[in-house]
Assembly symmetry: D2
């Protein structure tokens, strides 16, 4: 089969590789019908993710059709249309029993990381019964590719951890795909204000279309002052960090109101300065989270009911065989005005 | 009347001052029968708390007898024995309605800070109806002085925010009065292990008497290694910071397990380094809190039932008129083996 | 002044009565600008509410302008536009401190019940600081009259107690004003399905306009079968009882799924049969609640942001002086297609 | 092998039956070392549980040693000492993912009910990975037999659902084994008062030994009056029903305070009258639950730490081969002063 293979920093190829085979009774082989590229894949390509070694097939998102299952798989049979979760869960370890799938002792984020991933014609999915989801009839497949990773991430790490509630004022720092997924799912809880903060005017315009009530361009370094002005100096109930650098974290800790929440979604490469000399008496809650994908069933229901429209995030479509070009486009997101790309293999 | 008056950094005196009078219809005047000295008072004496200006009477803890009430006070009458909360709550502002008394728009921590406090023969208590508590019959007054501040602080900021639950492994960094109050109230929730960490062997010995299942002397800088060894390298479910410096915060963020809680209790004077490059994917919750004293009624019940024995923390007793000497003793806590001192005015 | 006075079962009059005066330092006198009639007022008129004695001015909803305040009132001054809560809260008793205003030791539901109410030109509001709310600028007054009682009731007793969450299937039995307020506020949490059940086709049509995804006419006694068919025999996650009779309660307990919630909103005059022989193993949660109005600030924010449109419920408008006629209209709601009536005194 | 076989109402025999064999890749065969008899087994013997058909081996509690595992079992190997949960959980269905193991689509309460149980020398355990628990080293086996059913039941259905918290007043109606397990685990949360209500003086005496602060003999039909007197007419914060008949349920709904909780633990054979005419405005929460055994890992930790001493409940010990006699003893519990019996097969 063909797959997108990582050959070390800066090197990738769409090339022939062996088709995966069942290794354990709990495995399934899935033929990919649609997949996508994640910001994390770009980090991998830069060599920033040391767990990814050369010759790895990338990708941790997608939908497909089950081709074959191991003997212990009971929820799925060949021919089933499935959504692949970016998090693999054994369903049996202490972490999985607590819903902390991200820290599964035998899984977690492994696809396109420590084992081969979904940017291929076929993928092997370990613990298929607890790592795949049936696709409801009449549900648009493209929308569901967004449920492999970015929507559970925005929803769990940002919205649920941030405890967004009706009437709240919410700020989201970062209007990339994850920030926008956070914006869309934050609306499940009817906050009064959602202030979107980013450097890119196009993304801020998209944010407004997606439901942001206010937008702040932070390129002048005055995001904090602007948010404080917009909130009559009270600050926000929930500040969601969806970038992953010290400067954006600092905005969050500065604009959060007493009793408020800071929910970190971004992937951070270095430490941040936490202003405990002010925050110790500010009664705040700060959370971090690698997505668990425990809310995938809930999100599937909101898509089925039409409440959530994940497809809005898709800006570009390619054939899977054009994935090299798709990487180029996605890698140049600002100029291409790219949010999420869909790769089709049908 | 006589009172302990702050006259600027390093200067205090037990001296004659005017007896307080009612200023608002919601005030009460309370004759102090027992009070104590807080670690915060020592900070004030060093000049570390800029909101405290010269000529202020210090003290934010104590019990007494109501001498006089304003016309709008309905819960208390002259002669009532009362517990004074360190936090003054108007009961009417948005923060108070949410139980965030610490951020009350008209109160919060004001006693012995922005208005005169309890280290005096009489004190004026604003918003008496919502800032005083009736003392149940047959309850020991000394025990209750501990409920003005340190027990609600340890319980709310440490135990409740840390979400201690049965079977948990808890670490408390700092075995001073607040850390010990945290240790005692953590046991309300039946954790399996409570590891107490401090530099002082005497305080660690006290911790063991108070219910710590393990103690770690951190004076060799190896607290993290020791805790990881004690927990078979899993770390702790709840790490409670009860000191207020970067080094102790760092212990907490290093020993907390995936999915765990860091509850900050300590008063911090400077920023700390938050290791988001590790923690972003560690699914932790970090909380800060200035005590709200919303749990005072609950704590009163646990004292009345004998479940909580706050008196254990009292190591020294003085007459109120000996308060200058009491400050010296308390200011030299390690050598004097002092935890809490009681000042009696009866 | 003029007021609507109850003179015993079946007897009411719009008549001259003494204007109320301040009785306590915490009182306010409010000039009513808009009020309404509640289903409970009709029950009172039938003699069903024994706490209401002859010569009582009815009414527990409304907005107005503060005319005068007692000395201990600090949140409001003469001239302030205010929303009157149907629940009076002293803000000082144990119940109020826990947010259980409905059981306030000195308040609770007293207006138009044990003291004179809002269907008058003026009303005395005890504990004004904690029983009135400022009306935000540019907010429509009619909408806010709906926030005195029915919206907090539907939201607190139905939606919050029912723990409605994104993706849920919710059934609401009873499409009267309270049921409709429940329907509107349930949407704060983005359930996938809201099934509205009633006997009246007009109210079901209104329900669909207000966001119900399915409606069930229960006049043939087959509501249960219909709901089970609509849910593929799984039942509903949340069943909300908004009528108050055994038959509608029975629908709720029969359609709730394992692990689901029954939230009672209705006022019941007699006992119901609880099928514990089935439910003991069904892992359900059943709640009851007299509204506390703790969510009034939250609801005000959702109205200000435009997320909630309470005005939709208003079908008829009268001058306050026409209240006798308004009672007739509201008392004949089905035929008049009446939901809520507004009485204007401006 | 030998097993206790049900042959229809009133008929049981300790007889030779075929040793169980693996049927699915997820099964394990466990050699029973210790088991017990449950009150439910007595109900089965009376013919009250129609799902139990003749020739069924009874029993759903016990510990043992794994003899053999299916190919898909990865958490356990032959030779492992294990605790058997009374609830079988597939770990893969929607209910299991939500922690509602009691309603597992492929499991739930099946042992000694719809499939053969643990009162035998060997038992087949379906979904072994998610239905067995490793026994920690140096843990007393007898204590752990109590964790198969009665301790999770008392803790989950009574204590957790009742939301017992520090300072609470709790009443438990029924001092049988489950009621006593509830009493012991309620103390995890440090309530101020636990009032135990029963007809049997011996069980009330045991209750006092186990931590009840008050006991009420209800044989005179005056339990309600007595509880109200003990609580100064306030009633209890949490009322736990651990019997399963209308009269005991009625005590609970009458003594619960406003804002309180009724947690049903008892197995009910008929409906009860729910006094909604009073309770609709009483802000109560009523829960029902078939035990999920989600707290087994937590309970294991509390036993390992010595916080929980389940062994106290054991009053009689027999060899497994004497089980016919053990049934007689347990069936005559009041006279024999029997709580739990242990059957040993070592």
């Amino acid at each position: 089969m063909k797959a997108l293979v990582y050959h070390g920093p800066g090197k990738r190829a769409w090339e022939e590789t062996p088709k995966p085979v069942l290794k354990a009774e709990t495995d399934a082989i899935v033929r990919i019908t649609k997949t996508t590229i994640c910001g994390t894949d770009l980090h991998i390509m830069k060599g920033d993710v040391p767990t990814v070694t050369p010759d790895r097939i990338l990708g941790h998102e997608g939908i497909g059709v089950v081709a074959e299952v191991g003997k212990a798989v009971s929820n799925f049979h060949a021919g089933a249309r499935v959504l692949i979760s970016c998090i693999t869960s054994c369903g049996k370890c202490d972490y999985c029993k607590k819903g902390l799938y991200s820290h599964c002792e035998h899984g977690g984020w492994v696809l396109g990381n420590t084992i081969n991933g979904t940017q291929a014609e076929y993928v092997r999915i370990p613990f298929a019964d607890t790592s795949l989801y049936h696709i409801p009839d009449r549900t648009d497949g493209e929308a569901l590719v967004m449920l492999s990773d970015i929507f559970p991430t925005g929803f769990e790490c940002g919205v649920l951890n941030g405890q967004v509630k009706p009437g709240d004022t919410v700020a989201i720092v970062g209007a990339g795909p994850i920030g926008l997924a956070t914006l869309l799912t934050a609306q499940f809880y009817s906050p009064s204000e959602i202030i979107m903060i980013d450097l890119d005017e196009n993304r801020l315009a998209v944010s407004q279309k997606f439901g942001a009530t206010k937008v702040v361009n932070s390129s002048d370094g005055k995001a904090v002052e602007k948010v404080m002005a917009l909130t009559k100096n009270k600050g926000v109930d929930v500040a969601i960090e969806a970038v992953g650098i010290p400067a954006t974290f600092d905005i969050c800790q500065t604009i959060v109101t007493a009793g408020g929440h800071i929910a970190n979604v971004g992937v951070h490469g270095k430490s941040v300065e936490l202003r405990l000399e002010k925050l110790w008496a500010h009664n705040i809650t700060l959370t971090t989270r690698l997505v668990d994908t425990v809310t995938t069933p809930l999100l599937l229901k909101t898509v089925a009911s039409g409440r959530l429209q994940p497809k809005q995030l898709i800006t570009h479509r390619f054939r899977l065989s054009e994935i090299m070009k798709a990487y180029d486009t996605f890698g140049n997101a600002a100029q291409e005005r790219a949010l999420k790309v869909i790769l089709v293999n049908e």
